[in-house]
Amino acid sequence: MAFKTIDLNMGPQHPSTHGVLRLRLAVDNELVLRVEPVLGYLHRGMEKLWESQTYVQAVPLTDRLDYLASLSNNLAYILAVEKLMGLEVPKRAQYIRVILAELQRLASHLAWLGFMANDIGAMSVLLYGFEAREGVLDVFEAYSGGRLTVHGMRIGGVPFDLDERVIGLVRRALDEIPRKVADIEGLLSQNRIWLHRTEGIGVLSAADAVAYGVTGPALRASGVAWDIRRDVPYSSYGDFDFAVPVFGHGDVYDRYLVRVEEIRQSLRIAGQALENLPPGDFRARVPRVLKIPPGEIFHSIEAPKGELGFYIRSDGSDKPERVKMRSPSFLNLQALELMCKENLFSDVVGILGSLDVVLGEVDK
């Protein structure tokens, strides 16, 4: 049996592909030569569906794109629609959106941390990460009733105001998450086995990252200091004081460090937004039948996975003519082959994990 070049298939059913992703690998003994992702196993025709749904009806569908960070999808779509309409959203609603979006970033990064560590073998971190995430999900459940597909934002604002119960749960989450993250870091950040599995693996240079359209934590880990929240602020992000972590090596370890630091910064932002909540309306008045005059817009936000953007073209009716979504995971996945080259195939799992790919977003 010759082992020269084997074609391996990490099939759509695999514990580590974070969804139904199929990877076709060509391997020379241990080194990876080629990686070809085969997509489409979760394609649901979202972009076509949106053409037959009104702008309001489309929002619950966006929940199901990146299902680990549903509020970010809501926010991206709603901001694009509002910009197209030229709608002014009240300040209180913007702050509440920031709190929800940052909590969602926490939830997404904690889930990512758990899955990544589990793929590398540290099985307890999965449970610790999810236990921390429960605090955030309790907030969403008390706020809008949903834990995973939250639908917690509406065109014009947010559906509910923050009441005592929700604020109490937010404070509790903001208190408990740093402790859990400190434990997880104690288990991983200086652990020699973790360092051995992640340092120097899957290196992506800054030039390559920009060329391939990689955005989000992977871009910042490669040394490019670009964060839409800071550089093109939306929804009052300019009012908050936060740092954007940037590291230089572009390996798996740096991507891990970027996301852990982002967890800390999200806690800061959410805390600041909660303390400085302005009074006022939490929802702007929007006509019952929402018709938008012809025009087109592209607007993107910094979702936990990267730059999430919506292109919407309206034709004057209550349904959009065309909606196109720029999903960060889809573009980040392009760089997978580049990162896996010259690495052992045991590392493919780690590299894929560090990219934080969610198939709902990739396949739409």
Binding site: A122, S124, Y128, W194, H196, V349
Partner: protein
């Protein structure tokens, strides 16, 4: 009055043979339960607690399920080797238990009952040798499956086991410098006379032996050949039903064997702790067998604790760890101990 010859020559050996098969199997059952409970408790959840009292019947439920699974043999597989390998792996783990002493011998009615099946002046060598036969089972399993993933997994397992046999052997040598015998009973007795356990006298040896022991049994953090989330699924991919159960049991039996060796070689076997402290003399009234069990349970717990905590080593680093770190370290340790032993 001596005991009846029928009892001495027939009944007691038969009971001992039954014990040497049942003891590891019972320990395996306890181990399966303990692994699932301890890993769960570390993760903030409870683990199996509905099947029987606190889930103690869960391994029985698992065995029941595996018993009824369809026994699939791949069409292109080499049938003889395919069927032989689980047996080889299990038998090699169980056979070695013949030489493991479980406690001090005691007299009943003029007959000295020994808590081991056989005592051999080369007991340690026999134990290490018998447990190494399991390697053949792994190779046969991977080869006979006639599929590239199990074969690669089997080759990696074998390389791992062979590489870690070397520091295992070298650290054992340091113990032998002090005990001057490779009879397991004599090693324990020597620790009794020396009034200090070799684990405290030779800590480096103990740690290297323990790490090698974990690698020998393909346990985390050295379990890449059989890890679920990796590409290559290991030598037992193609096995189902009872054959898979054999591999499973054999792995746990091997863990119990390694724990037994650690306890006997480094932690006094059946001896109670603190023999020099007069106030704790009541400890000596507890039978040695129970001390031995308690110590084994601690090391089995350590196995599970380590598995729940640490990430997995990649295969090349695993082998590098053995050849670049453990083998030179154990060689240095050997020389240092030899020099110190004969100089001091």
């Amino acid at each position: 009055m001596t005991a009846h010859p029928l009892v001495v020559d027939f009944l007691i050996p038969v009971l001992k043979i039954a014990a040497v098969i049942l003891y590891p199997l019972v320990m395996v059952i306890v181990m399966i339960w303990m692994e699932r409970r301890v890993v769960a408790l570390i993760q903030g959840r409870l683990g199996p607690n509905r099947v029987g009292f606190e889930g103690i019947l869960q391994p029985a439920a698992d065995a029941f399920k595996l018993f009824f699974k369809e026994d699939i043999i791949p069409r292109q597989a080499d049938r003889f080797l395919f069927n032989l390998s689980p047996v080889l792996v299990l038998v090699s783990s169980l056979l070695a238990f013949c030489f493991i002493p479980l406690g001090e011998s005691f007299r009943i009615k003029g007959y000295t009952l020994t808590l081991w099946v056989a005592e051999s002046p080369v007991g340690l060598l026999l134990v290490l040798g018998l447990s190494s036969i399991g390697v053949f089972g792994i190779i046969f399993g991977g080869w006979a499956s006639n599929s590239k993933y199990p074969l690669m997994g089997a080759l990696r397992s074998v390389v791992q086991i062979l590489s870690y046999e070397i520091p295992l052997g070298m650290t054992v040598l340091t113990v032998i410098f002090f005990s001057r015998s490779i009879d397991l009973v004599a090693i324990v007795n020597h620790q009794k006379d020396a009034r200090i356990w070799f684990g405290f006298l030779l800590p480096v040896s103990f740690v290297v032996f323990w790490i090698s022991g974990i690698a020998e049994t393909n346990r985390a953090p050295f379990d890449l050949p059989e890890a679920e989330s990796e590409l290559v699924a290991g030598y037992h991919t193609e096995y189902s039903g009872m054959k898979f159960a054999f591999f499973y049991i054999a792995e746990y039996a091997h863990m119990v064997l390694v724990s037994s060796l650690v306890v006997i070689l480094f932690f006094g076997g059946w001896l109670p702790p603190f023999p020099n402290v007069a106030a704790l003399a009541f400890l000596h009234r507890i039978p040695g067998f129970l001390w031995y069990l308690a110590k084994i349970m601690f090391f089995l717990y350590l196995y599970v604790w380590i598995r729940a905590t640490l990430p997995r080593y990649r295969f090349d680093a695993l082998i590098k760890l053995a050849w670049k770190w453990l083998i030179p370290l154990s060689a240095l340790n050997l020389v240092a101990v030899a020099v110190l032993r004969y100089v001091l």
